[in-house]
């Protein structure tokens, strides 16, 4: 299938976010694709609050069947979440389970004032009552396929479609 240009979607997302964020907004990317995206958004939006990143491996709901993800990286939330407006950023919004895990983790840092969600692509098929406030594009992807953000050697974004279950 033809995949949209991730760079264009990223610009789309920047313009949608611009009116929704302030200097005190905390941007938090979900590793790995969401963290890359958040890094770019943070730079383009020139946000004053330092950028955060979450690795949700310790909060996944499939730990009993899938085990611990092989390359866990530390989560970093370099600001006080209490009362803060936070925008969680992920590359692809799908079942909503990753976002659920990310919100659970955020609450272990404190009580955010408001959490919103930004995604480059919304591929639908939610399994939880979760919606994104900022979306680059909606896209229908066949079940069993994995859609995710990649970067080329120059740091340029592109979308990649592969068969589900990437090698662990």
């Amino acid at each position: 299938m033809n995949l949209p240009d991730a760079e264009l979607l990223c610009q789309e997302l920047v313009s949608r976010l611009r009116s929704g964020v302030t200097d005190s907004t905390g941007l938090v990317g979900i590793r790995t694709g969401g963290a890359w995206l958040a890094e770019r958004l943070h730079r383009e939006l020139k946000l004053a609050t330092p950028l955060g990143a979450l690795d949700i491996s310790f909060y996944r709901d499939d730990f009993d069947t899938a085990g611990l993800h092989h390359q866990v990286k530390p989560s970093q939330i370099p600001f006080d979440v209490n009362g803060r407006h936070i925008v969680v950023v992920d590359d692809v919004l799908y079942t909503g389970r990753t976002v659920r895990a990310a919100m659970n983790e955020l609450f272990d840092y404190g009580r955010p004032g408001k959490i919103e969600l930004a995604a480059l692509v919304d591929r639908g098929e939610r399994q939880l009552p979760i919606a994104a406030q900022y979306v680059g594009a909606t896209l229908s992807v066949p079940a069993g396929k994995l859609l995710r953000l990649a970067r080329d050697e120059h740091g340029k974004f592109l979308l990649r479609l592969s068969d589900a279950k990437p090698a662990a």
Binding site: L68, N104, D108
Partner: protein, 315 residues
């Protein structure tokens, strides 16, 4: 021969010894532990990974540090922890080790953390339990203390970044030390080029060179230019036996003083698995001095044990 700690697909089922574990497994544990360090600095110091699981701390031998840090680690992973001090319980009434384990398994244990004075006790339990149950060796006789070895290499990596240019000296009672054995296996697996053991002939095991270490009886010579000094605890009961003249005599030859430490590199770190005998194997001014990373070792031990438990529970 199949490694009894590993599943068919090479993942960890139990942690019994570091000997024979592939480098990737060790690195995975260290990397995972690094992620848990951040968890301990948050408002809520818990993650939900082991929610609903029961961890039984089975300590047939006294321990404060190891048992407490295992308990904290399990609680930070949201597991239920049951501490059994068997030394004063069933075994004194004559129950066998495996009967004790069977009874605790009937109470829905998911993981056993075992400390025992007999080498091989954790191995015996691991070969006996149901497939979904995981066993962690928290020290068996003179054999192994794998989570201590892992927290030691975590500490070394934290301060020295990588292993491929390091000189590490392990000093003291290597003969009776499961800590030394686990650390030597971990260091050689990670490619440490220079591992030295230093001690009197009576306290070094015969053939220790076969583990890939060099042997020194003169501490000043052994410490020359090293990056890491690992002091071992001299167990009090050894001083009464025929292996040593006296604690004072031992301190004179093998106690770590500022003068002896000056032989190591200026940025050398000093480690000790605890509990310390001040004035026997280590001088107070070194134990509390700027080179000492003895207390960070304890803190890192929590994250390392969280990593081991969560990796096992997920396999």
């Amino acid at each position: 021969m199949r490694n009894p700690q590993l599943n068919g697909d090479g993942t960890l089922q139990h942690l019994l010894t570091i000997e024979g574990l592939p480098r990737e497994v060790l690195v995975h544990i260290l990397d995972t532990a690094a992620s848990f360090i951040g968890v301990t600095e948050r408002e809520v110091k818990k993650v939900p990974l082991l929610r609903g699981k029961s961890v039984f701390n089975l300590f047939f031998e006294a321990s404060t540090r190891t048992r407490t840090t295992f308990e904290i680690a399990a609680k930070r992973l949201s597991a239920d922890v049951i501490n059994l001090n068997i030394a004063v319980s069933s075994s004194t009434k004559g129950e066998t080790l495996l009967d004790t384990v069977d009874n605790l398994s009937a109470m829905y244990a998911d993981m056993f953390v075992v400390r025992h004075s007999s080498s091989g006790a954790a191995h015996l339990i691991a070969s006996h339990v149901a497939p979904h149950v995981h066993v962690i060796n928290a020290g068996d006789g003179r054999h192994a203390h794998p989570t201590q070895g892992l927290l030691d290499i975590y500490t070394i990596r934290h301060y020295k970044k990588d292993f491929n240019r390091l000189s590490v000296a392990i000093v003291g009672d290597v003969l009776h030390s499961r800590v030394a054995r686990s650390l030597i296996h971990a260091l050689t697996t990670l490619g440490t080029p220079d591992v030295r053991v230093i001690g009197p002939r009576t306290l070094l095991p015969e053939g220790v060179e076969q583990l890939g270490v060099s042997v020194h009886h003169d501490m000043l010579e052994g410490l020359a230019g090293c990056d890491v000094v690992m002091m071992l605890r001299l167990q009090n009961e050894r001083m009464k036996g025929p292996l040593l003249p006296s604690a004072q005599e031992f301190f004179k030859s093998y106690g770590l003083t500022p003068q002896k430490l000056a032989r190591a590199k200026p940025d050398a770190i000093v480690m000790h698995p605890g509990p310390m005998n001040r004035g026997v194997e280590i001088d107070s001014s070194v134990a509390d001095g700027p080179h000492s990373v003895i207390l960070p070792q304890v803190t890192f031990g929590i994250a390392v044990r969280m990593a081991v438990m969560s990796i096992l529970a997920g396999n």
